[in-house]
């Protein structure tokens, strides 16, 4: 082995040692410059090749090039090791306790009565019922007389009304909206009327303000059997369960025939318990065929058209849907109550 070859061998050994000793990418880069750079040791050795004999020249030239390739390879493999190590340590240092809570945008909530109202609206909207609204300060005509409740009718005793002293009153039901809509839109008609109503009554099952939703359907050939059908469907869909309904004869001045609708109490399966007053039934809705006197008052031809109407308490529906046991909670607006919906 010539001297040049010995020098090359020791240079390779030295370089390999430096490469494997490089602790990071920067140190490795220095190695590259030190041995393979323009002024590097291996480059220097290559320059000496031209001074060698003709016999040695090709041998040595080839050997230096091989050495260069070998070192390049060593550097590359060391580099990939270093990079993997760097990534691993970076990942390690960035590790989080992912069980800590996320940074939240606090979510608010809709009032349970609104949630239920939207649900009822959506179900009836799918059958083409449109929402109608009206004033809450009403007159005697729209709240009573147009609904076949003349003054001095015993039915006026059934609800205690808030008055303003000038004939104006707070509507006791959303039925005046039915009258107003029939007056302006005529037939055929398919509406629901959600809204606040007021009765002078306050105990654990009554608040002086509550929410009602009434439905009105006026068309040719609409019948009591259709009313039963639509309400059965509604309650099944609303409660997402097949409910047993009971229609029992009742009286409202603005409908004839009239019915109250009870649903079988799910909690006691109709056996009767404290909540349902041991009857097994919960009263949820009043309904009937619109009284011809009401239709006549808004100039609807009763020989051609019939209509049905129903009214339900949205607060009561929310109580049943969400298991709320006290009506007064709705208007107390305790955050601890509201945040449950």
């Amino acid at each position: 082995m010539s001297t040049a070859q010995e020098d090359l061998a020791s240079l390779i050994q030295e370089a390999e040692g430096a490469i494997s000793a490089a602790e990071d990418v920067r140190a490795l880069d220095q190695c590259r410059v030190q041995y393979l750079g323009k002024k590097g040791k291996l480059t220097g050795l290559l320059k000496t090749v031209s001074g060698l004999s003709a016999a040695e020249k090709p041998v040595m030239g080839k050997a230096v090039n091989q050495a260069k390739q070998q070192l390049q390879q060593s550097i590359a493999s060391r580099e990939s090791i270093l990079q993997a190590e760097y990534l691993a340590s970076k990942i390690q240092s960035e590790r989080l306790d992912i069980t800590l809570p996320g940074k939240t945008f606090s979510l608010g909530s809709l009032h349970p009565v609104t949630k239920v109202t939207r649900r009822v609206k959506a179900l009836f909207a799918s059958m083409g019922f449109q929402v109608a609204e009206g004033p809450e300060i009403e007159d005697e005509y729209h709240n009573f007389e147009a609904l076949n409740i003349p003054s001095h009718h015993p039915a006026r005793n059934a609800v205690d009304t808030f008055y303003f002293g000038d004939g104006a009153l707070l509507r006791t039901h959303t039925s005046p909206v039915q009258i107003r809509t029939m007056e302006t839109q005529g037939t055929p008609l398919r509406i629901i009327t959600p809204g606040r109503v007021y009765r002078r009554d306050s105990d654990h099952t009554h608040t002086p303000m509550f929410h009602q939703l009434e439905g009105l359907f006026v068309d040719e050939a609409c019948t009591f059997a259709d009313l039963k059908g639509i309400l059965q469907r509604f309650f099944d869909q609303f409660f997402e369960s097949s409910l047993v309904l009971r229609f029992r004869p009742s009286f409202f001045p603005f409908t004839e025939p009239s019915a109250e609708v009870d649903i079988q109490h799910q909690l006691c399966q109709g056996k009767g318990c404290r909540t349902c007053g041991y009857s097994g039934w919960l009263e949820v809705l009043g309904c009937g065929m619109v009284h011809p006197s009401v239709l006549e008052k808004v100039n609807i031809d009763t020989s051609r058209y019939t209509g049905f109407a129903f009214g339900l308490g949205l607060d009561r529906l929310a109580m049943l849907r969400y298991g709320i046991d006290d009506l007064r909670l709705f208007f107390d607006n305790d955050i601890q109550f509201l945040e449950q919906f």
Partner: protein, 799 residues
């Protein structure tokens, strides 16, 4: 209306148990509210006869009695009741008896004396409340040794039905029995109707004049003399009344009440000797006229009241309540009985004018059978004579011929209408059968496709054919009408895209952390006063409570109330909103306007471990509102200007304008108001009319630049009083088309900025739709802009 099941069953024989009976009544439309046994379970109580009473040797208040219970030797029983005396018939719980509450009777010694049973009070048997009345004193005729439950017919229920206002005809045993009779096609057992034998000629003359004729078309009286005053009514009558919730008052009154419950006709009895003449009159009261009622109330009358009078004084408030001076007394021996038909509306007005409701007015208001007055009078007279003796005089009657209520109603019923309304076909034979069983007479016509239906006089609720359809459905059974599916004509409603919905605003607020509340529409005057500008609130004349008397003009009082309540319950963060109507007087009547209100206080978001929760301030709520305005896509239509709302902090409040129209207010609650409400935190409020917040813009595509934009920052020192709005307005006005956007990113006051000035840092973005801008042209624009700001606002570039 309460009644005894056993009493009802005396009118109709039905082979059904209580549960079925109750269910059938409810399904007939006579809704049963409650059913309760007339007595709790007990055993071992028999009728006894007190043979002797001797003082207990060792106890002042006790007696030792010997009681015959019809079974071997009389029993020795120690008794503490004051009213125990020899000869009395009593209820005895014998050894082995089990009383209500699980109390067992055993052989015992009381203060050394043996006692083999207990003489019971009504309360101990669970059939009366009054303990002080002592032991029950049974009728002399009570059979010794008979089981007390059997003797007292205690295996019975009190049924309470809630009569709908139309079913006055069912406010009696007879009425309820009629409905059951129609349902079960079973006859009713009629009551005794023996004709009255006239035994003297004394009578009163009834005068009804003028307006009273329409109020009282039927009025009948009969005088009964020489009735006995020392007789108690038989047990079944007493118990029937007690179980119906009617107090025993006087044997005559009790009999009248009994007949009223039996057939539905209210009647009245006067002490004959209190009448100053033999002429009585029915008339409307004169305003200011006074009388004292049976309940000892002195009342001042109006013309709404209807009176029965003699020639000097009112005798009764007709159809409502008797007068005190003419009432029957314990020693009354001669009575005048009155039975009449009064017009329902007149009685309702009369009762209402005195805020009274009695068993009589309840029935008259609902319309009693106008043909009943005479037979009811005879029935009452008959029972009085049977139990109290007395001699009856002739019937004296006033009768108007032309009152509407007395006319027979005939209604034409078309067969096809039944199917048109109910949606099912019912056989004609069933219809005829149902209506006939309800007492209607049917005359078919038009080849049997229609009927002339004659309505019985007691059904005052039936006016038109649809009422008959209901009767048919009721008896046919609502349950038997199969539900059908509506055939709907497809419709497609208009959905304007330029109108946001309240729901979409509510959803946005929920996502921003707000909770929806629903507060009462009425608030207290005091609460509302600080929020009034020039509105005149609508005030209720009969509020449910004095602090709920005024209709809200603003949503803020309700929101603040909710805030305070929640704070008192330790809530940290209260971010709430409400939408709904507010009210005020207008020239034409009332303005009722939709509003949206927000209240925010406490940390804006829930506590987070990585940062400190900041409390909500003016700009936080302004940011929330801006977010809502962004939803419209029309943000440029809304402007903020400084506000002077009295409830808001003068330096932290703004008025919201929509196209120069004032629509709302935003701000921090005025510190003085916060203090008076005991609020220590910053409370931010916003309220606006709802409709302008919903006016959205239909999106319209505009081409956007594909070329890069250039951003330049600019820090200006301006006067402290210069508003950001004024600065931005000027920049937008002066800037060329190249300026695409300008944003404020910092406001600074302090070191390096002289007092009275502030630094505003802006980021300006330039772009062009057709080309890439070069620095030089942007610089030129910037230079021009700076010059204009320096000249227009005395702004200086911050070094």
């Amino acid at each position: 209306m309460k009644f005894s099941e056993a009493w009802l069953r005396r009118f109709i024989t039905l082979d059904i148990d209580t549960t079925v009976l109750v269910d059938r009544l409810t399904m007939l439309g006579l809704e049963v509210d409650s059913v309760s046994p007339v007595a709790p379970p007990f055993t071992g109580v028999v009728v006894g006869h007190v043979m002797s009473v001797t003082k207990h040797p060792n106890a002042e208040r006790l007696n030792c009695t010997l009681v015959d219970v019809g079974d071997g030797e009389p029993l020795t029983i120690v008794c503490g009741a004051k009213n125990v005396q020899p000869g009395l018939k009593v209820a005895v719980a014998v050894v082995g008896a089990s009383l209500p509450g699980g109390f067992k009777i055993k052989k015992a010694k009381l203060r050394g004396e043996p006692s083999h049973g207990m003489i019971c009070s009504a309360k101990e048997l669970g059939i009366g409340e009054n303990q002080s009345a002592g032991i029950m004193e049974l009728d002399d005729q009570a059979p010794i040794g008979q089981d007390f439950r059997e003797y007292y017919q205690l295996d019975d229920h009190v049924i309470d039905i809630e009569l709908t206002p139309n079913r006055g005809d069912c406010a009696s045993m007879l009425g309820i029995a009629r409905d059951l009779s129609a349902l079960y096609q079973t006859p009713i057992h009629s009551v005794d109707t023996t004709p009255i034998v006239q035994e003297h000629d004394d009578k009163v003359q009834c005068q009804i004049k003028d307006a009273a004729v329409s109020v009282c078309p039927r009025f009948a009286t009969r005088i009964i003399k020489d009735i006995r005053t020392d007789i108690a009514l038989p047990l079944p009558i007493q118990e029937a009344l007690r179980r119906s919730g009617i107090n025993s008052i006087h044997p005559v009154v009790d009999i009248l009440n009994y007949v009223m419950l039996e057939c539905g006709q209210p009647m009245h009895a006067y002490d004959l000797d209190s009448l100053n003449s033999r002429v009585i009159e029915v008339r409307l009261a004169k305003t200011g006229e006074q009388m004292t009622l049976l309940n000892e109330a002195n009342i001042t009358l109006t013309e709404a009241a209807v009176l029965v009078t003699d020639q000097h004084k009112p005798l009764s408030l007709a159809g409502v309540m008797g007068g005190q001076s003419s009432s029957v007394q314990a020693n009354t021996t001669s009575i005048l009985l009155e039975s009449a038909y009064f017009d329902p509306i007149a009685i309702r007005r009369s009762a209402k004018s005195q805020a009274l409701q009695t068993d009589a007015s309840y029935r008259f208001e609902r319309g009693i059978d106008p043909c009943l007055y005479q037979s009811a009078l005879d029935r009452a007279c008959h029972l009085i004579q049977q139990y109290l003796g007395g001699k009856a005089g002739p019937l004296s009657e006033y009768s108007a011929s032309d009152h509407q209520a007395l006319q027979t109603k005939i209604i034409d019923l078309q067969y096809r209408d039944i199917e048109r309304i109910l949606g099912i076909q019912i056989d004609k034979s069933i219809i005829e059968c149902n209506l006939s069983s309800l007492g209607m007479q049917l005359e078919p016509h038009d080849n049997g496709d229609a009927w002339r239906v004659i309505i019985p006089s007691y059904r005052s609720d039936i006016f038109r054919s649809v009422d008959l359809v209901e009767e048919i459905a009721r008896l046919y059974g609502y349950d038997n009408i199969a539900p059908s599916s509506l055939l709907l004509q497809a419709s497609m409603p208009a959905i304007p895209e330029t109108m946001l919905t309240v729901d979409s605003l509510a959803n946005a607020l929920v996502h921003l952390g707000f909770r929806e509340v629903i507060t009462y529409s009425f608030v207290s005057t005091a609460q509302q006063a600080p929020f009034l500008i020039d509105e005149r609130p609508a005030v209720l004349v009969n509020p449910i409570a004095s602090d709920l008397s005024e209709m809200r003009v603003s949503l803020w009082p309700g929101l603040l109330n909710t805030y305070i309540k929640n704070k008192n319950r330790q809530a940290g963060r209260v971010c709430i909103f409400e939408s709904g109507l507010c009210f005020k007087h207008s020239e034409a009547g009332y303005d009722q306007y939709q509003r949206l209100g927000l209240l925010a206080s406490g940390p804006l978001s829930e506590q987070y471990w990585g940062s400190n929760a900041e409390s909500c301030g003016f700009f936080d709520l302004k940011g929330v509102v801006s977010h809502l305005l962004d939803l419209t896509g029309n943000k440029a239509d809304y402007q903020w200007k400084p506000s002077s709302h009295p409830a808001l902090h003068p330096g932290q409040s703004a008025t919201l304008f929509h196209h120069d129209q004032k629509i709302g207010e935003l701000g921090v609650l005025h510190p003085a108001m916060a203090e008076s409400l005991g609020i220590s935190e910053t409370v931010c409020l916003f309220e606006a009319e709802l409709p302008p917040l919903l006016m959205a813009k239909l999106s319209e595509f505009a081409p956007f630049s594909k070329y890069p934009s250039i951003k330049r920052d600019l820090a200006l020192v301006v006067k402290e009083s210069l508003t950001a709005q004024a600065l931005l307005d000027l920049i937008r006005e002066k800037a060329p088309d190249l300026l695409q956007n300008v944003e404020i990113f910092d406001i600074y006051q302090g070191e390096g900025i002289e007092t009275g000035s502030k630094s505003i840092a802006l980021e300006l973005t330039f772009s062009d739709a057709t080309r890439t801008l070069v620095d030089a042209e942007v610089q030129e624009v910037m230079d021009q802009l700076i010059t204009q700001l320096e000249n227009g606002l005395h702004a200086k570039i911050r070094a």
